[in-house]
Symmetry: C2
Subunit: 439 residues, 2 copies
């Protein structure tokens, strides 16, 4: 049971073993489990690969964990309509690969792509690196087979890329964290596979100037890059140590990663030269161009190892996932730094600059249990207060889950909490599905 | 009352005068009206500019029409975050213009942009011409102030472009056709303003080959154009007559319009040359390039006058808005033609080829009232049957409204209808808002 009693949140408080784990192979089996659970009022917590970062798939009230791992087939690649139809237990990386082999792009790209399930991406509305250009998982999902808490099976949406027939229930399901239904089949839109891709690695002396470049590129430059990521100096140093490899300008204040794509070489070249020029005019220490796979991999390895690299520095930490309006990122990062300094702790930041999503990792290091909890509470309290004040929100892509649900009321008024509860109650009157999840 | 008793559906059966029209100026006034109506159980039908095409803003059960026409301010253009914040009574054209003047693009672009309100676009999740590249209205909406049926005022979402905090209530509101809440403030995302735009007008001998080009461009070509429209021969001829102007290859079987944009001239040139080449290799009679504003306007005028032009041919008609998976368009058009022939009526088709959305206008011409209704019923029945069979749906962008709600059950199972009803009841327990609308 133990391996189904936690996700990738590193703190023991967010673990709870289930009483039973079931591994259905088809939607009808999911339905049978839900009907049985409903009759006996036993909580059911759906689970993907367990790579979540908010304890959203942890059975905090016990009961049944419904693992979708056996529903792992790619059902159809429909090249004529540019759709792939998959079961929830396929890894996101497999979806990407299958699309690529058919000559298309599946644009969802969370850092965990190699291990996370597409079903989990849908449940959390995973964001990832390519959201600046392509949006989050939600934008790729046009339909799904869903098993409702009462055991009814229905298919919402499908392969129509435009559809206003009834309420948008498809996107109500996406991001509902397993609290409204169990998605057993997913219709994902594919995009043309970009033929040319270039990444730029751009070190800056200070975070503020680094982040300013986001608006310069999209505003003045008029270019929407595919990715626009940032790493602070702590996360760069942690990555260097973890990968045992020097990064250029390793002691710069911040690094920006920009990816541009296109259907011709000229187009991509024009865009990356323009972006490079803008970076140099706006304080970049250098602009490194990675136009081949191995150079690009090296850059992304440093960015993607963020969480693992910091785990070496501090096995226990608290990773936050706040999101702010893009222009507020510099202020948000400055506030986080101030709060860390004030409490004498270390907070490392990296994330998706182009969409205002900041992953802030508060390191426990050698603090004793009691002090850690005390400091953490205070630090979170202050980060959330500042985030809210600048029009930000609690989670950009990791979700609420058990970990953050008590904080929801800090970010929304009682009217919205009541709306959420009303929708939950309307679709899951027995409150069977993931009751340890949303409020 | 008469001008508030209909929208642009041309049939008398979809009109009903309200008992009262109220024109609130602020959210608190909307709330007061809803509270009063709730107390007395009087239906309230929110209304934008009345340009709808599904009788979604017609008070079919009488009561109060809540017109948002006085809430017509553009509240903020936030260039740093690339957002515009507007009230619902601003026309979509004004939003586009304000964005353009600030150096950005508001990418929502229904054919009715000059007259429709942005609030109506949100209520219907309007699609329009640029949905191939930019998606429908839903994709541009990141937040809104909403007055709930009980009179509570809350703000969902805001300026964060990535946000998984709680259920996606923003996009549950978008497209809910005034049945769940009244949106009184809207946060719309802007895009970089494309610096170069070119339109191609491409006549083909037959519809089938014309439509095939959609997949050739996006699949083989790897290019996502901004727009990809089609017009059949009836609609071309109607446009010629209406505009009193010849179109090149006016007796071609079909015309395709392709728009490409980009941040540099070279990029746009590469794309349109590639698309032109593909068209010529796949049966185009000619490829006309419109690279200046007046030439582009001429092309779009012909496409956009579709509904008005056919009204001259037949003052009464029935416009359908089915959507099918993109690859099914040729089959859908062939079926519509067959059905028309079989019933001895004329159906003209145009629409958004790149997203599978077909506007099919069944012309009454000189049929007497009774025959018209009889034929119309049969024709719709058959079109819907074929649409459903090919994985299509009832409406792509015009909405369900009073006009189509009795057909919903043909396109969704009882489980989904029950979900819609449950959500409606959860958020509007008194069933006050637009009760003549969704089921």
């Amino acid at each position: 049971m133990e391996s189904y009693g936690h996700d990738e949140v590193s703190e023991a408080v967010w673990t709870r073993n289930p009483e039973v784990v079931v591994k259905p192979g088809i939607a009808e089996e999911v339905a049978a489990v839900l009907r049985l659970a409903g009759r006996h009022r036993v909580p059911v917590t759906p689970r993907g690969a367990g790579t979540g970062l908010s304890a959203g798939a942890v059975p905090m009230l016990g009961g049944i964990v419904l693992s979708l791992e056996k529903m792992d087939r790619i059902l159809e690649i429909d090249t004529a309509n540019m759709f792939v139809v998959v079961e929830p237990g396929v890894t996101t990386g497999q979806v990407q690969k299958a699309a690529r082999e058919a000559g298309f792009l599946y644009a969802g790209d969370p850092c965990s792509a190699d291990s996370s399930f597409i079903g989990g991406n849908v449940a959390e509305n995973a964001g990832g690196n390519k959201a600046v250009k392509y949006g989050t998982t939600s934008r790729h999902v046009y339909g799904g087979e869903v098993v409702l808490p009462g055991g009814e099976i229905t298919t919402l949406g499908g392969k129509c890329v435009k559809d206003v027939t009834g309420y948008d229930l498809v996107h109500l399901m996406v991001g509902s964290e397993g609290t409204l239904g169990v998605v057993t089949k997913i219709y994902l839109k594919l995009m043309p596979l970009p033929r040319y891709v270039v990444d730029l690695l751009v070190p800056f002396a200070a975070m503020q100037t680094a982040i300013d470049i986001v608006l310069v590129i999209m505003g003045n430059g008029g270019i929407v890059p595919t990715c626009l990521e940032f790493m602070d100096s702590t996360s760069i140093k942690a990555a260097e140590a973890y990968l045992n490899q020097k990064l250029p300008y390793g002691d710069a204040g911040a690094h920006i990663i920009v990816e541009v794509e296109g259907s011709t070489e000229t187009q991509v070249e024009e865009d990356y030269l323009a972006i490079g020029r803008l970076c140099q005019e706006h304080g970049a220490l250098e602009v490194f161009v990675a136009d081949n796979v191995s150079a690009r991999d090296r850059i992304w390895k440093a960015r993607k190892c963020f969480a693992e690299a910091l785990r070496v520095v501090s096995p226990v930490y608290c990773m936050e996932d706040i999101v702010v309006p893009v222009a507020a990122i510099p202020k948000a990062l400055a506030e986080i730094e101030r709060i860390a300094r004030q409490h004498g702790v270390e907070i490392s930041c990296a994330g998706h600059a182009g969409v205002g999503n900041i992953h802030a990792i508060l390191l426990r290091k050698d603090l004793d249990e009691e002090t850690w909890h005390e400091v953490k509470e205070k630090v979170l309290e202050e980060i959330y207060t500042e985030t809210y004040a600048m029009g930000g929100n609690l989670s950009g892509e990791h979700g609420i889950g058990a970990k953050r649900k008590d904080y929801l009321a800090r970010f929304m008024d009682p009217v919205q909490l009541a709306m959420i509860r009303a929708v939950k109650k309307a679709l899951d009157p027995g409150l069977i599905l993931n009751p340890g999840g949303q409020p």
